[in-house]
């Protein structure tokens, strides 16, 4: 295990110490000391947005705390959901009197802990609504879409719900915008190699020197097929075909695209992938709005890429373009 760290047991806390020290907009808070909140605090009179998830995906989840995005974020151990106390902290610290949207990925531990936390806090008078990202098309068939896990596309929901909250919408409608975004987002990823969980004996999985895995999840969950690496254009072709087959596109065929690096893939390659995707989307009559290329949702040292598409209508396009101010997403 070749990682720059002090010890696997202090990994998450050491990361958070650096994250907060480097970003004056972040404060580490809560009884658990496992919540990042905006330095400016909860906004009175506006809906709060709390998220959370396991460590090892930076800039997700915590990196998107900021104006026009998240209010707070609970952080779990590497690849584990945030624990109960941190979920309670994240919700309480996001509350500005208008309720809190819980917006996170569809994973077992995260769901259970946020559910327990919100049950306990509803007793204290904090209203919550929950919306789960389920964008990973490789993780369940379309007829079981509710079982799909949330991956890179989650940040589109952050952006749109964050903008809606900022604009003063109430809890139900912020939740509705988030839900609409989730339903209009599809992602598929592919991995070239494994990541290593700090303290584990080795990589999460083995993969041959000339192989990739299509559809792999962000913790190394098995994908759709494993086989020889192909030219970028062919890979993009397949990924777009799978995504577009079920993307609920509106008139005008406006889409936003996120070409996301899993952590160890050079930016160069992400741009090659984007160029291939754009060529194909242009040729099929889609209009690309606000493309994003970079490392937005990672799996530590995993190499690979995911492509997310968000089908836009005027409403979503409006919120997507609204100002946002977090260290990793500024508009």
């Amino acid at each position: 295990m070749k990682k720059l760290l002090n010890s696997p047991t202090s990994y998450v806390d050491d990361v958070l110490e650096g994250l907060v020290a480097a970003n004056p907009g972040f404060v580490l808070d809560g009884q658990s000391l496992r919540v990042i909140r905006r330095a400016s605090g909860a906004v009175k009179g506006k809906v709060g947005i709390a998220s959370g998830g396991g460590s090892g995906h930076l800039p997700l989840f915590t990196g998107y705390v900021g104006q026009g995005l998240l209010s707070t974020c609970a952080i779990g151990n590497v690849f584990e959901g945030p624990n109960l106390q941190s979920c309670m902290d994240a919700i309480s610290l996001a509350e500005g009197g208008e309720g809190v949207l819980l917006l996170f990925g569809n994973y077992g531990g995260d769901k259970m802990n946020f559910a327990m936390a919100s049950e306990m806090l509803e007793e204290e008078g904090i209203r919550t609504r929950t919306v789960l990202a389920t964008d990973d098309i490789a993780s369940a068939a379309p007829d079981e879409a509710a079982k799909r896990r949330g991956v890179a596309g989650l940040i589109y929901a952050y952006k749109i719900a964050g903008a809606a909250a900022e604009a003063g919408h109430d809890l139900d409608s912020v939740a509705a915008f988030a839900q609409k975004t989730v339903e209009a987002t599809r992602t598929i990823g592919l991995a070239l190699n494994s990541c290593i969980v700090p303290g584990s004996v080795g990589p999460t999985f083995q993969i041959a020197d000339d192989e990739i895995e299509m559809g792999m999840g962000i913790h190394g969950e098995p994908g759709i097929w494993r086989g020889k690496l192909k030219p970028a254009g062919e890979l993009v072709e397949e990924m777009l075909e799978r995504l577009l087959a079920e993307l609920p596109v509106n008139e005008g065929k406006r889409v936003s695209i996120l070409v996301n690096g899993l952590g160890a893939t050079p930016l160069d390659e992400l741009y090659i992938i984007f160029a291939e995707a754009k060529k194909r989307l242009d040729a099929s009559g889609y209009t690309i709005v606000q493309p994003m290329v970079g490392n937005y949702v990672t799996s530590m040292e995993m190499a690979g890429v995911s492509i997310s598409l968000l089908a836009l209508d005027d409403e979503l396009a409006h919120f997507l373009a609204a100002p946002a101010d977090s260290p990793f997403w500024k508009i």
């Binding site: 658990s32 396991g54 779990g76 151990n77 590497v78 690849f79 584990e80 959901g81 945030p82 624990n83 109960l84 106390q85 941190s86 979920c87 994973y107 077992g108 531990g109 995260d110 259970m112 802990n113 559910a115 327990m116 993780s139 369940a140 068939a141 079981e144 079982k147 896990r149 969980v197 303290g199 584990s200 004996v201 999460t204 999985f205 999840g217 913790h219 190394g220 969950e221 098995p222």
Partner: protein, 201 residues
């Protein structure tokens, strides 16, 4: 002798003795269909329970409640959260009691099972930790001799593991790979087997 705090602590010690092997085995099982972290998480949870300061003459409810809190603080993973849920459920039922009869264990496990099902949304047959727990709870129902309880529990857990091996996972990370999950042990179920085996040593 009825079941008391000493039994719980002794069980924990014996699990810890087996922990390195269990950790590796669970990680490997989870890596086949999930994210490969069941063992690491389990080791951390057991370590946290062991480190929890529980006064040595606490009642069963207080002891389990301390263990549950330690577990919840140590992880937010699916299985960890379900373990905490189970312990909290049994803690509520045994609050103030220094000991329980061995025959009470089965019904208590059934209550835990139901709480876990409610929390996690899985049902029996999904090939999860629930199915193992359910089999154990049913197998030890009415038994009052600790050795018999243990051997019945172990037999039931192992049989369930084997019984489910060739069935598909229906929940959690492993679920979508119905085909691929056939032939593999569910890590949560495997954890139940290994824990019971460890306690019996």
């Amino acid at each position: 002798m009825d079941m008391n705090q000493t039994h719980l602590k002794g069980a924990l010690d014996r699990i810890i003795a087996d922990l390195p092997a269990i950790e590796q085995e669970l990680n490997a099982a989870d890596a086949k269909l999930g994210d490969g972290d069941t063992g690491g998480m389990f080791a951390r949870v057991i370590g946290a329970m062991h480190a929890a300061e529980v006064p040595s003459n606490s009642d069963l409810g207080a002891t389990l409640s301390a263990y549950a809190r330690a577990t919840a603080a140590a992880t937010g993973s699916s299985l960890g959260t379900l373990i905490a849920t189970a312990m909290l459920t049994i803690a509520k039922q045994t609050k103030g009691r220094m000991e329980i009869e061995w025959s009470e264990l089965g019904p208590l496990l059934e209550q835990a099972r139901d709480a876990m099902s409610a929390r996690g949304g899985a049902t029996l047959g999904d090939k999860t930790v629930l199915d193992a727990l359910d089999a154990v709870a049913r197998a030890i129902k009415g038994l009052s001799d600790p050795a018999t309880v243990h051997s019945a529990a172990q037999a039931a857990a192992v049989a369930t593991l084997e019984d489910f091996r060739n069935r598909p996972n229906k929940i959690g990370r492993a679920r979508m790979f119905a085909e691929a999950s056939i032939g593999h042990d569910d890590p949560g179920m495997l954890a139940v087997v290994r824990v019971i085996q460890a306690i019996g040593r």
